[in-house]
């Protein structure tokens, strides 16, 4: 009996030792995490190494973060109205949000992609898609503002977008939901065969960046989920994952998950160009908006286009090939060499990697395994490069570090897995918090990834930050991937839902970032470029105020002769030519947002006074020591008043 007591005492002691061992391990971890702090710490006044552009998801915008610090620099309004900057509220920017369905003040922005030259990020522009009412926007990385939005006709759920080819020849946009093309009134049950998908190729002018919908490839009625361009050896091809090859129209959760394999559609876009050049494209009527912002007039214009060129893939047997890929693949990613095409079958236990070389070989030898709507299907075994066995649950997206490694996110098992291209072995795995969607390595979808950091974008935040009610911002997580093992460095909350992000070395952008707009170059028709040019004019019930702002007053700041029922346009020019000195203006009772006018710019808001009285306006951006004094009054007289218009500053 004594023996047993001694034994249990000994085991207790052993147990205690283990516990204290564990404790000392935890202390070690403490030392490690202070190391992590150093890696993300950017001292006051110092700059981050990368610009990170995160899509705003259901906010419709694009946010700009610094990496590795995770500091938010700016939210660029793209598809949604932004009262903070007057975007979509000012007369100049309202046309940016026009579509064939009228004015749409919101969208769901998904995948930003930075322009490339020779397969490398060049930092000229960043493109992003609006998923809901299909649109592609171009953001100018000189002034970090939306320069252009083009609507995509014959598309619905603009999800496999907006990805650029390696010299930014095209921005490509695919449809997630197939729809009747052209749209018509038919029973939903007649989906099969009647609904179509479309893949849009938008040409980009290399000088101005201006977009033009060059052609669309009409496809079978599958769902085109994500896409990536070929690069290097596979430049000239574009790859799209598909799901719902079952062509189900209801309860897709079940009915679109029946086929053992869906497809990656490999599109030979150089071939498509040849067909278009040879006049094989069919012109089809289509209504879509093309909105451009002009930095000289500081105004956007909205025009409607009437026609689109279409290539029906089923009529051209060498345009599109289908690569069988297990179980509803989501992400479609191409490695930096252009050889491997990774289909992240989200319901599959394994990760499928196709070989571009094998694909070309199979095409040449015409080793087809049937066809779907006239598109040749290649044999799975003939194009397979390899399989990553049992990597995790629910693979979504893969990026690359340029050192022969790939990193895949697993939504269901909440982790990032690092594996080796070619050997398909798993090297490391790290948990994410929680339910990770996309991941991003700066340049990770280009020919030259910068394999230093990885950002995972998580859908569920739960307990990562102080609770703020039932709705939490999504969370991004920064990993150091410079070593063999990944190391979690930082959590930071994001705007809306960052589906995808793109990052670029700060050096490629920061020195060309605009500081002011030159007043000399302001071609706004209602600009007042000096206090001497200010005036108020009336044309019936329409009143135009030409106003200037400078530290710290408006000219004019007293206006009389406005009447109830007038439509009053405030055209306000910021005369400052100094970096970071915007002025704001807002008017009591105006049914719109403030304007935030950057130096040298002219912007306009409309005020329709409804009540007699004297109403103030003021500067909304603390501009100077006498910002509080930057204010003015408008006298509103009854509708039948005969008081003439007058305006003044300091009673002069």
């Amino acid at each position: 009996m004594k023996k047993y007591i001694t034994l249990s005492l000994v085991s207790c002691l052993v147990g205690l030792t283990f516990i204290s061992c564990n404790k000392s391990k935890q202390n070690n971890k403490g030392a490690l995490s202070s190391n992590a702090a150093e890696k993300v710490y950017v001292a006051p006044g110092e700059y981050d190494e990368y610009y990170g552009f995160f899509s705003g998801g259901f906010s419709g915008q694009l946010s700009v973060y610094g990496l590795p610090s995770g500091r938010l620099f700016k939210v660029i309004p793209v598809f949604s109205q932004d009262p903070e900057k007057g975007y979509g509220y000012s007369e100049e920017t309202k046309p940016m949000l026009m579509t064939s369905h009228g004015f749409i003040p919101w969208d769901d922005s998904h995948h930003p992609d930075i322009s490339q030259t020779n397969g490398e990020l060049d930092g000229r522009w960043i493109f992003i898609n609006g998923n809901n009412t299909p649109r592609i926007a171009r953001i100018d990385l000189e002034d970090f503002s939306t320069a252009e939005i083009i609507e995509i006709p014959n598309s619905a759920g603009n999800h496999s977008s907006s990805f650029v080819t390696e010299n930014t020849e095209y921005v490509v946009a695919g449809t997630r939901f197939s729809v009747p093309i052209p749209q018509r009134d038919i029973p939903i049950k007649e989906y099969k065969g009647n609904f179509k998908g479309s893949l849009s190729f938008i040409k980009v002018d290399q000088q101005s960046g201006e977009m033009d919908l060059a052609f669309q490839i009409q496809m079978p009625g599958f769902n085109y989920d994500l896409s990536h361009p070929g690069r290097g050896k596979s430049h000239g091809w574009f790859f799209f994952t598909t799901y719902n090859t079952e062509e189900a129209h209801s309860l897709l959760e079940v009915n679109a998950s029946q086929n053992d394999k869906d497809f990656i559609a490999a599109v030979n876009w150089k071939k498509a160009e040849e067909y278009i050049k040879a006049g094989k494209g069919k012109k089809m009527p289509a209504k879509y908006a093309h909105n451009k912002f002009d930095n000289a007039t500081h105004m956007a214009t909205h025009t409607m286009k009437e026609e689109v060129l279409i290539l029906d893939a089923s009529e051209f047997p060498d345009l599109v090939y289908l690569l069988p890929t297990p179980k509803s693949p989501h992400g479609c990613d191409v490695d930096p060499s252009g050889e491997y095409i990774i289909g992240n079958g989200k319901l599959s236990a394994n990760l499928t990697v196709h070989s571009f070389t094998k694909m070309l070989d199979a095409i040449e030898k015409k080793k087809f395994d049937g066809e779907a709507y006239g598109l040749p299907i290649l044999k799975f075994e003939d194009v397979l490069a390899g399989v990553v066995e049992q990597p995790g649950l629910g693979p979504l997206h893969t990026e690359f570090d340029g050192k022969g490694n790939a990193y895949t996110t697993f939504f269901i098992s909440s982790e990032v897995v690092k594996w080796k291209l070619g050997t398909w072995e798993i090297i490391d795995r790290k948990p994410t918090f929680y339910s990770v969607g996309h991941l991003m390595i700066p340049g990770g979808n280009s020919r030259k990834p910068d394999g230093k950091y990885l950002v995972a974008m998580n859908k569920i935040t739960k307990d990562r930050y102080l609770p703020v009610g039932p709705d939490l911002n999504h969370s991004a997580q920064l990993y150091d991937i410079s070593g063999d093992k990944m190391e979690l460095l930082l959590d930071f909350p994001t705007i809306g839902e960052p589906h995808y992000a793109a990052a670029i070395k700060a050096d490629k952008i920061k020195d060309k970032a605009r500081q002011i707009y030159k007043l000399d170059e302001n071609k706004h028709p209602y600009a007042a470029k000096s206090p001497a040019e200010t005036k108020v004019t009336r044309n019936g019930k329409e009143v135009h105020i030409y106003m200037t702002m400078i530290r710290s007053h408006f000219t004019p700041d007293n206006i009389e002769g406005i009447k109830v029922g007038d439509k009053v346009y405030f055209h306000v020019t910021n005369l400052e030519q100094d970096f970071d000195v915007p002025h704001g203006i807002s008017m009591l009772g105006a049914n719109t947002a403030e304007l935030l006018v950057t130096p040298g710019k002219t912007e306009t808001f409309v005020w329709e006074p409804k009540q007699v009285g004297v109403w103030p306006f003021y500067c909304t951006d603390f501009c100077s020591a006498l910002h509080q004094e930057m204010q003015g009054y408008v006298r509103v007289s009854p509708a039948d008043s005969t008081l003439p218009l007058s305006w003044s500053l300091d009673d002069e």
């Binding site: 002011i516 400078i550 530290r551 400052e576 030519q577 100094d578 020591a625 006498l626």
Partner: protein, 202 residues
Amino acid sequence: MKKSSILMIVGAGLLLSLFYFPLWNIELGAPQYPIPLGMNIYIDGIKGVGEFDLQNIDGLNHYIGMKTIPKPEQMWEFTVFPLVVASMAILGIALGIGGYFNKVKPSFFLVWLIVMALLGIAGMYDFNLWLIDYGSDLDPHAIMKMVDAQGNPLTYEPPLFGHRKILNFDAYSYPHLGAYLMGLGLLLTFLAFVLGTKSKKQ
């Protein structure tokens, strides 16, 4: 004598660089102006270092009631200085050429140098008068009227040379490339006189 005459020609010729390079530079830095605002003073006018620096200096100065930075036509100096500099350069070069052909004695070089130095001192004196006027002749309706500890109104003139703290601004005032080239020119003309005198004695 030929060597010294060439030195005289080059030295006097260097005065002409004042038509291309600023004589003086004043920089104004503050916490919110990490890249300082700056003005370059040329013999024929004042220009901003950055494209909009003058406009921004004027914009800030209006709070304390300073006059705007003068345009060339608002100060007689900017008309007279170029004439004086051009005349002296031509005269100096002519003396040098005269010396080269042995028509002019080296002592004339020295006379030229003394005249030039006197003109320079007069110019600096005038420049300083302008600085004082610019910094102290303030608008009585100025937005901010600042006084020192004794209750005297503050003045804001930038220093003629060196550093001065003006409210939140650090003002630095130093000669610029034109002045250095002119200085080098004067040195050369002095050398011309010394060498010329020596060669005459031999």
